[in-house]
Symmetry: C2
Subunit: 353 residues, 2 copies
């Protein structure tokens, strides 16, 4: 994979997005800079506030450039509204990628706004119809990539096939897998398996020139088993699955805690178990999986969780840096060039009548 | 609530459905009969095999009547095929409910087949457009009802409103709640919250004469918190959420087990923790939540998990018995009579243009 020259590696930062910004953001950059000594950061936000915190970190300051942005996108702002305001830290940070001043942008702000501005400013890659939100998640003995997680509430078969393509490339780049196993999320209803658009997408992927290790359908309870490396679905279904998984993991851990509190014997046993519990907790630590990537755009937008801490924020930045180094966006561009998904889509739809 | 006379309480049993049938089925009935001394069972299956096992349980035999059914629905059989064969244990067991010989049917066989035959034979309640699959599940401090879990891959707003109605009645009957909190499963995408049909269903429920404690939308990670007693969605989404929840619960428990095995210290601590772990395991025990109910039909069909054991099977039978005693099917009939959902649906659709 082509390596971007290190003096070109610039990441644009929306310093005002998320809770406790810009402090958490800057403390996250401290950690990210230690891991990536070759990155420079372009920070957008309230210059005075950003600089006053940055002063505490002289090492980081050396690789940062701060630009003043007079306004901030709030969590309540509607996407349709924020796309018209070019003076927000979020807009300006994304625009720096369009201008070529940075190769990726990271924001912990409002997801809908970040997606809307990213689409408007960076534009969708030619031949890709819809960008998607992707996350990297833990399964029993590794990690997997899942998309779309909420950008597209309704999808047709062509959208799903494109997500499969982009997810596969992401898994190769971010998970270091040579032949990631790609699966469509579906339910195992007898007779007709799940929804029409999913069956059509499966057919489209199989008929395409994508040289992909497509393993068919996966049901949600098989995700945790590690049966696939890339899980593809529409944004509504993906979001439902993601939040069900997160909610249940939290519930089980909390039930254990509640039960231990009520048991004298268990409290006695805690010192023995602490190591194990910490290890499991660490594997599931949401901070280590922070950073949802918007893929399918001419430039990389990464959304950090708004409530994360410095460690979580740094993970999002590290993800962005890794994908920039591996020339992720260009990989998508050149792979879609090779495959005419549109034509394929026409064939499939014709087939099904 | 009207009590059905005990000498009328008959449950029809597909003795051949599920793994290790008819043995597991019969052993499940032994447990169910102990809990419900007033029930009688009508068993359909291979007369010789059923009777030879039944002989081991003379107490149960007294409340059982066995009828021979020459054929069995297999897991591979397609619903479109099985509905034409009236000689299977599943068909005959369901038909006993239509004839009034039993008030409910329990089967551990093929879900798609059970739904197809139940719809064909029992027919959907007048004014209900689609039956749904419902389960009772555990949350942090209680139980909730969730539907549809897979009967309807695509649903419109009217279907969802009807599911809300039926789910609410089920929660009152099965969970003993006076005013169950009803919520529509949705995602919290900014700007437009989730899918169009869900927004329309919310409007329809609010405008209806349903005297329901409707609390709006719920996101999947809030389910485990116990924020609602009835969770309503289309069958595809419900199935995705259900299996994500089940898969994750299993994963977390297994990760804990794996970690304990690898730690000498943790093994030392195990005797202290055993009570706690068993308690948590018991709360999450899928056998205690066995028995998905098909609601919206003229008669009650209950689907037991095919791989459950005698305890799990007895839970499905107990659920069926409780709902029959509480006259559940008639409650749905009389409540839909009161509310003209069809008319309401016309208004909503008109509104949205």
């Amino acid at each position: 994979m082509e390596q971007v020259l290190s003096d070109n590696l610039v990441i644009s930062i929306d310093a005002m997005g998320g809770d406790n910004s810009p402090r958490v953001v800057i403390e996250g950059l401290v950690l990210a800079a230690k891991k990536n000594p070759d990155i420079r950061f372009l920070l957008f936000g309230d210059e005075n506030r950003v600089n006053s915190i940055l002063k505490e970190y002289p090492e980081l300051s050396k690789v940062c450039e701060v630009r003043n942005s007079p306004e901030v996108v709030s969590n309540e702002d509607k996407p349709s509204h924020v796309i018209r305001n070019r003076n927000t830290s979020m807009y300006m940070a994304i625009d720096a990628v369009r201008k070529g001043e940075a190769q990726a942008v990271v924001s912990a702000g409002n997801t809908g706004a970040l997606m809307a501005i990213s689409k408007l400013v960076l534009k969708t890659i030619q031949k890709i119809h819809r960008p998607a939100i992707v996350s990297i998640m833990p399964h029993r003995n590794g990690k997997y990539v899942m998309l779309d997680l909420g950008a597209n509430t309704e999808c047709d078969s062509l959208n799903l096939a494109e997500f499969a393509l982009m997810g596969e490339i992401l898994a190769r780049h971010a998970l270091n897998l040579e032949k990631p196993r790609v699966a469509l999320l579906n339910i195992g209803a007898e007779e007709m398996k799940g929804r029409e658009e999913i069956r059509q997408a499966a057919q489209m992927i199989r008929n395409s020139k994508m040289n992909m290790n497509f393993i068919g359908y996966i049901e949600p309870h098989e995700i945790a088993e590690g049966k696939a490396d890339v899980i593809v679905s529409d944004g509504f279904t993906g979001n439902i699955a993601l939040k069900s998984i997160e909610g249940t993991a939290k519930l089980v851990v909390r039930m254990l805690k509640d039960a231990v509190k009520k048991s004298f014997l268990a409290k006695l046993g805690m010192p023995f178990m602490l190591g194990v519990l910490l290890r499991v907790k660490k594997t599931m630590d949401p901070r280590l999986y922070n950073g949802a990537m918007f893929v399918g755009l001419n430039g990389l937008s990464v959304k950090s969780h708004g409530g994360t801490d410095a460690l979580g924020y740094s993970v999002a930045v590290n993800n962005a840096a890794r994908l920039v180094r591996q020339n992720f966006v260009n990989s998508i561009r050149s792979e879609v060039e090779k495959i005419d998904l549109d034509e394929l889509s026409q064939e499939i739809i014709y087939d099904s009548y």
